[in-house]
Structure formats: C-alpha cells, structure tokens
C-alpha cells in the first residue's frame, strides 16, 4: 500500500490571502449581526417578544 498522500488542492499565496480576507469579512458581518440583535434586545426590553404582524 502506498503511504504517499495525494497532493490535493494546493492554494497559491494569493488565493490564501484572498480567502483569509473573505473569512475576516464574513466574521465581521456576523459580528455586526450579533451586536445588532443584542442592541435591539436591550432597546426594546421585554417588548422584543411582542411582534404584531
């Protein structure tokens, strides 16, 4: 049996850099979403559960 791993996909430095930047952007967007929900919960207080159609 051959122990050598298939090379798979090797990212170039540019691809790694772009991927890292995209990951940071997604993290920031999710962070903003969390902060938004937290802030509105604080602002509305118990009324946050009241959502008339």
């Amino acid at each position: 049996m051959d122990d050598e791993q298939p090379p798979g996909i090797v990212l170039t430095e540019a691809q790694k850099k772009r991927r890292r930047e995209r990951s940071i952007a997604i993290a920031l967007a999710l962070g903003v979403l969390v902060i938004l929900f937290f802030a509105v919960t604080i602002v509305k207080g118990p009324m946050v559960l009241s959502r008339p159609m």
């Binding site: 298939p6 990212l11 540019a14 691809q15 772009r18 991927r19 938004l36 602002v43 008339p52 159609m53």
Partner: protein, 312 residues
C-alpha cells in the same frame, strides 16, 4: 483509488480568487448610496420617534437588501453585462466571482436583510423589503429587462420603494407621504435612464436589451423623456401643494424642476452629433443632482422643524 476519487482529482474544482472588493462591487455601492439616502429621508420624515438603534437597523437592512438585489441582478445578467462596455468589468463577467457565488451571495443577503428587518423592526417593512428585492430581481431583471422597452418604467418601482420601506419601518404602516416619495423616484427613473440610454444605445443594442432608443429610436425617446419630465416636475411639487411641506420645498422643487425641464427640452431639440450626446449627458448628470437635492430639502425641512424649539 476509486473511480470517484480519481474523478474528483481530475475535475480540479475552481478555487475562488474573489476579493472582498469584488463582493462589495456585487452590491452596486453607488446605487446603494442613493437607496440609503432616500431611505433615510423616508425614515426621518415619518411621524413619531424612532429609536436610533432601530433607525440604524432599518437603514442597514434596506441597504443590504438593495445590495442583495444588485448581486442577483449581476448573477442573472452576466451574459449581457459582458457585452456592454459600462458593465463588462463587473465581477461575474470577468470571472472573478462565479455565477453560483453571486447567486448564493444575493440569496443569503436577501434572506438575512428581510428576516432581520422583520424580526427586529416590523413585518410590514420586512414584507415590503422582500417585495422590493423580488420586484427588482425577478420582475425587472428576469422578465421586463429583456422583454419590453417599458422595462425601466415598470422596473423603476423597485428603485422607488426604499423610502416607503423606511417609512413602514418607522410607523408600521403606510400613508400618502411615502407614496409621494415613491412617485417622485418612479417618474424620475425614465428620464434618468433614457438619457443614459441615448448615449449608451450601442451598448444596449449589442447586448440585445430593448431599451427605448434601440427599439423606438432616439427621437421617440427624446419625446418620452420630455413628457415624463413634465409629469415628474408636477409630481415633485405635490408634497408642497398638498400641504405636507412648506414653501421652501415648494419653491426649491419648482426651481429644480424648471432646470430639469430646460435640460429635457434641450435633449428634445438637440438631435444630431456631439451636441445631442452632450445634452443627454447633461440631463443624466443633473437628474442625479435633482433627486438628491429634492430629498435633501425634504430632510432639511424636517431637521429644521425638529430643531426649532431649541433654536428659537
């Protein structure tokens, strides 16, 4: 190695090299800036008090929703974007972002913007935002744009809705004022886009988009621009004529309208060569300033009225 493993290696999946900037470009930031501004005006002129956090949430959701519909538009229109010089450098036609990535990006942002606005603010605004995205992405982009010369007339409704969504976010309902804001942008859209189409008609013809100058010719387009501008100027005075805003807005809208009308008449009369193109460019450029100024004056009136107790 199995056949499946061999195939997976042989297929060599595409590795994305898209930058964050490419994804921001999918949101059409320039269109988004106008959406943010008109939505802000809709929010500010609405009666009652809106908590700043809810106001920021509303504007953010409306902006992201507008961006999402832009991304869906670029996903669907990548084939014709590649044929037009104005749009050929967009992320999808150049291959920096794949169509699937643009579609996923647009759908995810649509979902989050609508749900966040609905859950955190109210469902009238959330529903209206969902309708706006649907109208732009499906009714305009997928249906009207390639089918009829009236594409931007009917499709203009999508661009006119953000202040209505913002008003609904502030009040939870609708009334005459947001409908007037809607009508101003609705009747502004045809002269604005047909002025652009007059000096970009080769682009649209190459892509097979049935814009009015391509289908009916430049002379009919010039007449239509003039007629829509007359209606626009009349509609733009309505917030003052109906008593919702005072004379500062009334006089300003008449002055700006007279200028817009003069440029539309110039477009109608200048029909040949460089002067004709220059007239269309002038009208296109001024139309952006016109809409911005009208909404800015509305905003100013509200801000001054709110600050009056502290000033006098």
């Amino acid at each position: 190695m199995s056949i499946v493993e061999n195939q997976s290696l042989a297929l060599s999946p595409r590795i994305s090299e898209a930058s964050v900037g490419d994804y921001i470009a999918l949101l059409k930031p320039r269109v988004m800036s106008l959406v943010i501004f008109t939505a802000l005006v809709g929010l500010m002129i609405a009666p009652g008090h809106v908590h700043p956090v809810l106001a920021i949430t509303s504007i953010l959701c409306i902006a992201v929703g507008a961006g999402a519909s832009g991304a869906l538009n670029m996903w669907y229109d990548a084939d014709i974007d590649a044929l037009m010089s104005r749009t050929a450098n967009r992320p999808v036609p150049t291959g920096r972002v794949s169509p699937q990535e643009a579609l996923a990006f647009g759908l995810i942002l649509s979902f989050f913007s609508v749900m966040t606005l609905g859950i955190l603010v109210n469902w009238v605004a959330g529903g209206l935002l969902a309708f706006t995205i649907f109208f732009y992405a499906v009714i305009y982009t997928m249906w009207l744009k390639r089918w009829t010369a009236q594409n931007i007339v009917i499709g203009g409704a999508a661009g006119a809705l953000p202040p209505v969504v913002a008003w609904a976010a502030a009040t939870g309902s609708l009334s005459i004022e947001p409908i007037l804001l809607f009508l101003i942008i609705f009747f502004w859209t045809p002269p604005h886009f047909w002025a652009l189409a007059l000096f970009r008609s080769d682009d649209y013809a190459r892509a097979g988009v049935p814009m009015l100058p391509v289908v009916a010719g430049p002379d009919i387009t010039r007449l239509q621009i003039l007629l829509y501008t007359i209606v626009l100027v009349a509609v733009a005075t309505a917030p003052w004529a109906l008593g919702y805003f005072d004379a500062v807005y009334g006089v300003s809208s008449l002055a700006l309208g007279a200028w817009m009308l003069a440029l539309a008449i110039k477009v109608y009369r200048q029909r040949e060569g460089a002067p004709a193109l220059r007239a269309a460019r002038q009208l296109f450029g001024f139309s952006i300033l016109y809409l911005f100024a009208l909404y800015a004056i509305l905003l100013l009136e509200v801000v001054v009225a709110a600050a009056r107790p502290w000033l006098w």
